[in-house]
């Protein structure tokens, strides 16, 4: 969801996030590339105000992406949302340029959803090997990242061979893709390595060009 928000806000579109449990991390989102000034954040304390706010937002219109985060809401509460609510939401964004994304523990929108993805965390990457799980960690080895799998449960675009969301570029025949999320620290390290490699290449090319 953060990536989607980052992409949309960087394209100068206004986006909205209805946060049902007030759990959004603005600092992390900004580091992930989300333009916070273009993101309307509605902090709710429960599913009822979240759905009411969402209804108003979708009918107000004009947003590039509207996300409803029900990730922390117990699944049994989300299940109680009647199907006509999801149909109404779908009708509100139908024939508009607004993308409506719901993040929840399980799929509830049923046939109202154009695309259903199931995302699961497979492994967490620590700097120490798994065999030393209980070994002493140091300050520099907080969580590095995690590997996730995304499965396309249902899509209206099945017949049109949809693009996979695999970030490494390796496409799999099935509707499942794997991708990796990394921590800020890891990202900084990788950027540093890239810069060092680039500077080393530049230096070597200069050395070649310069007369001996």
């Amino acid at each position: 969801m953060q990536s989607a928000l980052a992409m949309r806000t960087q394209a100068a579109e206004a986006c909205a996030l209805v946060d049902a449990q007030d759990s959004f991390d603005p600092v992390g989102a900004q580091n992930a590339g989300v333009e916070l000034s273009r993101l309307l954040w509605v902090r709710c304390q429960g599913i009822d105000p979240a759905l009411r706010s969402l209804d108003l937002l979708l009918h107000g219109g004009g947003f590039g992406l509207v996300a409803l985060d029900l990730g922390d809401v117990p699944a049994k509460l989300v299940r109680q949302v009647q199907l006509n609510v999801w149909f109404r939401m779908r009708r509100a964004v139908e024939d508009t340029s607004t993308v409506f994304v719901v993040l929840a523990q399980e799929t509830n929108a049923k046939s109202c959803a154009s695309l259903v993805l199931r995302v699961e965390r497979e492994t967490t990457e620590w700097s120490l090997p798994k065999t030393q799980a209980h070994a002493e960690h140091t300050l520099s080895c907080l969580v590095d990242g995690s590997t996730h799998s995304a499965e396309m449960v249902r899509s209206f675009l099945w017949r049109k061979k949809p693009l996979y969301i695999d970030r490494t570029g390796s496409c799999e025949p099935a509707g499942t893709a794997h991708f990796q999320l990394i921590s800020d620290k890891k990202a900084e390290e990788e950027e540093l390595l890239e810069v060092e490699a680039a500077s080393a290449t530049e230096a070597s090319s200069k050395r070649i060009q310069s007369p001996i």
């Binding site: 100068a12 600092v27 509605v42 108003l56 107000g60 960690h137």
Partner: protein
């Protein structure tokens, strides 16, 4: 050089009718004077037909059936006069504030901008009608002739150059506004109209009645010209309403607010401005218990009524009175006044209307007016502090941010972010961890082994630590009262279910100030 005069007949009555249009078709009289000896100072045509004359006492006026009796209100008159000036400034910047019911202005050269004088006159009349005033308009080469013509005929009256004397000739001499002494002299001489006054020899007139007579003689001959005393345009737009019966409920109050806003927006629009902020002040009726100060010996000492203030600021100025009314209603719905309302003042802080060039290839955003209304409605659901865009603070403290008003300005849209300019569009940003905060942090019980967490319990959940990384010690604000210090751990917890086991990564913190463990949140 051409001049235009705008005259408001029965100004005192129109200042009242402006707020209660239903009174326009009813017999209406205005009273003024030291209480309790109120006397009639103005009466409309219907009241005069019934036989009401000026100077009648309140009791005598009340004898007439169906007559609406109101007290003179100078604040309403001031607002009506300000509206009249605004209507004049909508056409010309050179306006003279001649009297409370009359303004004169220079309209030379405006034909190329607004059309003929007839069109300018019609525009002025419709503009005045929008602010609730029926006016007479007249144009002439002479200021005084324009003034007299406006007082005499509804118009728009256009007096061609050189025909001023001919036009003024049949008009009564009272329109020249002579002093009481001079009016008495002229009455004794049998001078009834301007033509008769203009026919008098000016030298003899000067000897008999002095310079005032000479001045009026010139005006009666169509020659009274002088320089305009220009009024300084003001940017204060204020309206006032006093209620006979205090209003308590929001529904009737919104009707009254709607009237005030309509008038304000019409005035603001006439000056080619937009409303940026609306300031509202209510004078409240004291409650029965509060009406008498029981702490004092004199039990019947009435206390001063309380006031209620409310303001509404818009990120984008608007002239839409309906939008402002909806926003004000939502604002008052959230924070209603705690007593019935007796008087209302509304003031508009204005700004220039915002004009932005759109673009075919720019992403569309929410309509600013519609967005403001949507935000206000959502704010009434979740609270005003819980909606907006986050702004990250320059602090090492985790979760340091503040909320600010969300504003999807088209100006921002015109300048896509630098990241887009620098990077190719096809390259997506590197995906990073998402973190979910528990706000407020949940108290947790953490079992330690050699200083490292091995089991974490919080809010009915217990997890065994598979991996733990930390502590990451953070502190700050030691130079302030709210100093903070904490040790953060990132832990992977496994939860044993009935059939399956699951795991998740969490962040736990030890607050060194409170000496307690807290669950901060989880990684997505």
């Amino acid at each position: 050089m051409a001049f235009c005069a705008i005259f408001v007949p029965d100004f005192l009555l129109q200042a009242v009718i402006r707020w209660e249009p239903a009174l326009r078709n009813q017999p209406l009289v205005l009273l003024d004077g030291p209480a309790p000896i109120f006397r009639v100072i103005a009466a409309n045509a219907q009241a005069r037909q019934l036989g009401i004359t000026l100077g009648l006492t309140k009791a005598a006026a009340a004898e007439f059936r169906g007559v609406q009796i109101q007290l003179r209100n100078q604040e309403k008159e001031a607002a009506a006069h300000a509206a009249l000036l605004d209507a004049a400034w909508s056409v010309s910047p050179r306006v003279e504030n001649t009297a409370i019911d009359l303004v004169t202005m220079d309209v030379a050269g405006l034909e190329t901008l607004f059309g003929s004088y007839e069109e300018i006159g019609s525009q002025l009349q419709s503009c005045c009608l929008e602010v609730g005033l029926h006016v007479h308009v007249a144009f002439s080469e002479s200021i005084e002739t324009a003034r007299i013509a406006a007082c005499a005929k509804p118009g728009p009256t256009i007096i061609p150059a050189g025909e001023e004397a001919q036009f003024v000739k049949p008009l009564p001499v009272d329109l020249l506004a002579p002093s009481e002494e001079l009016a008495e002299v002229l009455r004794n001489w049998g001078i009834a109209n301007c033509g008769a006054l203009a026919a008098l020899p000016v030298l003899s007139l000067s000897e008999c009645v002095g310079q005032e007579g000479v001045r009026l003689h010139a005006i009666a001959g169509g020659e009274g010209n002088r320089a305009l005393i220009l009024a300084e345009p003001t940017h204060t737009f204020e309206e006032f309403m006093e209620l006979d019966d205090a209003v308590e409920e929001l529904e009737p109050l919104s009707f009254l607010l709607g009237r005030l806003l309509d008038q304000l927006c019409a005035r603001v629009a006439a000056r080619v401005l937009s409303v940026r902020t609306v300031l509202l002040k209510f004078e409240l009726q004291p409650a029965f218990e509060e009406a008498f100060d029981t702490t004092q010996e004199n039990m019947r000492t009435k206390q001063r009524a309380g006031t209620f203030r409310c303001s509404l600021s818009l990120p984008r100025p608007t002239q839409d009175a309906k939008l402002l009314l909806k926003l004000l209603r939502l604002r008052l719905q959230d924070k209603p006044p705690n007593a019935p309302i007796q008087k209302m003042w509304m003031r508009a802080v204005t700004d220039r209307p915002r004009a932005v060039q759109g673009g075919l290839f720019l992403p569309t955003g929410p309509d600013p007016d519609n967005l403001e209304l949507t935000l206000a409605r959502i704010a009434s659901v979740v609270g005003e502090a819980n909606i907006g865009s986050a702004e990250v603070l320059d602090s090492h403290r985790p979760d340091a941010f503040r909320m600010r008003k969300f504003c999807s300005s088209p100006a921002d849209s015109l300048k896509p972010s630098a990241a887009i300019d620098d990077k190719p569009q096809t390259e997506s940003p590197q995906a990073k961890f998402g973190f979910r905060y528990y706000r407020p942090q949940l108290p947790a019980y953490v079992a330690l082994d050699q200083g490292r967490p091995i089991k974490v319990s919080w809010k009915g959940n217990t997890g065994k630590v598979l991996h733990a990384s930390g502590p990451w010690r953070l502190s700050g604000g030691w130079w302030e009262e709210n100093a903070w210090q904490e040790d953060a751990w990132e832990v992977e917890l496994s939860f044993a279910g009935k059939n399956t086991a699951s795991s998740a990564v969490y962040c736990i913190v030890f607050d060194a100030q409170q000496k307690k463990w807290f669950m901060r949140g989880s990684y997505d």
